[in-house]
Amino acid sequence: MIDSLCDQAAGKDVAVVGLYCDFLAQHEQSTTNILGAILKQLVSRGGIPGYIREAFQKAKREFGGRGLRLPDMVEILKKTITSLERMYICIDALDELVPKHRRELLRSLKEIIRASSNMRVLLTGRPHIDDEIVECFDKAVRIPIVPIQDDIRSYLQMRIDVDTTPKAMDAELRADIMRIIPEKISEM
């Protein structure tokens, strides 16, 4: 998704940023760190604005460089997004976040969206987090992702093409793989 949106955005003042949630990284994927990573991607394309430098210098002077608090991070993000024509945020595997962080992130996104009509958010995740999303965004549009047979066939074909022991497979086995696996998967 990120790459397609980047292609569309080429040449315009449109930012596309993303983040992959990972249950193995739960301890460091706090809401503040996630929003910080989004902000980092924004400023790495357009340069670091003066107000972020000032906030950094202030934090360094006063508290030995401690990190931003969530409300401050949200305010800085809002401010930075204003300068863009449009901004797309893609967050993958939202279900892998700790529930507390997930709720907090959704609420923060809601707050940012309220101030930024030029923003679009794409979330992916397992269906069970649907209720939490609806709680914050009751009109959120849903696309159910299901594996389609054509996709499975092209993936199988690729794997067969790169097989390191192609002689272990005769034409019949190959044909069975190409027929049975796509059928079984779409029955699931």
Binding site: L39, K40, V43, L123, D130, P144, D151
Partner: protein, 95 residues
């Protein structure tokens, strides 16, 4: 002869100046980036990109829902799109 430690520091410094040259970010800028967040999502994105098979999942980009979400003027569309699916269906690998 430089000591091992000096050698390493020298290498790190020249490595940092190469990064600065590439990204156009000064030393304070790098500190700010680290201060904003320790997360580096670009790395995972590179891995996903190189494992992805072109064309697979492109049907999602053709759906009316996706097109409206990405193309409609601000304020006329719900800004949140949720691609939901069970584990392993390919949500991460949508192009």
């Amino acid at each position: 002869m430089l000591s091992g430690r000096q050698q390493v520091t020298g290498n790190i410094n020249s490595f940092n100046s190469i990064i600065n040259f590439i990204t156009g970010i000064d030393a304070e800028g790098l500190q700010i980036m680290r201060w904003l967040s320790p997360l580096e999502p670009q790395q995972r994105h590179q891995d996903v990109r190189s494992d992805r098979l072109d064309g697979v999942g492109n049907w999602v980009l053709e759906t009316t829902e996706f097109r409206k979400w990405s193309d409609t003027e601000d304020g006329l569309i719900e800004p949140v799109l949720f691609c939901c699916g069970d584990p392993g269906v390919g949500k991460t690998y949508l192009r």
